[in-house]
Symmetry: C2
Subunit: 232 residues, 2 copies
């Protein structure tokens, strides 16, 4: 937006431009309220909610965490297939006669699975850092792009020196591009400190290719910077 | 927001206040994008969509429009009960054994029912005026408050001299307070013209109480106005 009466010396904005901005803000607020109401309408009650726990469910999910036996989580096929292309392929290829399917999910705790399924109904999750890591893994496995993006965002906001490499490895393993970029930027900016850390030394042993990737990125940036400087 | 450097004569707004407003707008836009993504995530594919037409459905709705035989509309109980307390009561009181229920809905066309069910999945409907009236009736019957509000809003935006009384009657019959208020305001502001119309004369015959209600509101406003004038 340009303000024809803007005068740099007294840093003034004309009343007309101000009013246009105020109107734009009012319209945004209105749009926001409409979307909030729509979102509330589309929100399906959490299946964790006691009353709803078994209402018309047609599928059961079981967290198969090592040898532990965990309670079944009742859900609706329509919700699973709407949210995840993996569940869609899995359930739509089933024999039509099987009215009630059981899906066993390996290497996940009951708590994580419950949170994951709950998210598919509500688009909401109360997460700590560990839960966000676990949900990121689940969302990649079941291709729930929206949840994955939320987890990446949350984890990127928690990046600290101790976690740069941990999150970088996690993001690499689970194809989380946004988190990978965020962690890589932090690592490169703090290369001196990162390379001195114990986690770095361990990563060199366990996954040298990943460490090489960091150095190559660092190198290419360094070269770019140096060449800019030389041109100047 | 106050602007300490606001000078009425040249109608200027200081740069600082302008920046605060710009930041507020940026935040609103960001919030809007988050909500849009959430809404898209929660959106269930329309059941009208070919691929989804029968996926895991457990209930069938049939529009019973006079004697006409209309195609069944397949749906999911979880969606119906989540959106409508009436469907909730109806379906949750069913015997548990009935895996596939049939709900016959009287006095509604196939097209309206299809649009109504589709709305329960998507929170979206392409409507003309007649469809908005029909959906308003359905939303009142099945207590889908959000859809009802949308229909009222749409119809209120279409108010014209020919429709003041029609919409007023519709709103009264189907308990649509917002539309009722909007129509009543228009009627009272244009009493002279309204009382000359054919629809008015017909309404006097068919529902004198409703007409009396208009006059009473007009009278109470007139008295209020006169008393204000006398005090001044």
């Amino acid at each position: 937006m340009t303000c024809p009466r803007y005068i740099p010396h007294n840093a003034g904005i004309c009343k007309k431009c101000w009013d246009v901005k105020t109107e734009a803000e009012r319209e945004l607020l209105e749009e926001l309220n409409v979307l909030k109401a729509k979102s509330d309408f589309l929100h399906l009650s959490s299946i964790n909610h006691e009353n709803n726990s078994k209402s018309f469910t047609d599928v059961v999910l079981i967290a198969s965490d090592a040898e532990a036996v965990t309670p079944p989580i009742h859900a609706h096929k329509i919700v699973l297939v709407s949210r995840s292309p993996v569940f869609k392929a899995m359930l739509e290829n089933e024999m039509e006669e099987s009215h009630r399917s059981i899906i066993k999910i390996n290497e996940v705790s009951y708590e994580v699975l419950q949170n994951f399924v709950n998210y598919l109904y509500t688009a909401e999750a109360i997460v700590d850092e560990q839960m966000a890591c676990d949900l990121l893994i689940m969302s990649e496995k079941y291709q729930v792009a929206y949840l994955k993006r939320q987890c990446e965002k949350f984890l990127a906001s928690k990046l600290s020196l101790e976690k740069y490499l941990k999150f970088y490895v996690l993001a690499h393993q689970h194809n989380a591009k946004h988190l990978l970029d965020a962690a890589l930027t932090k690592i490169i900016t703090n290369m001196d400190m990162v390379t001195k850390r114990e986690e770095y030394k361990e990563l060199v042993k366990s996954d040298p290719h990943l460490v090489l990737n960091i150095h190559e990125t660092y190198f290419s940036l360094y070269v770019a910077e140096t060449s800019t400087r030389s041109t100047v």
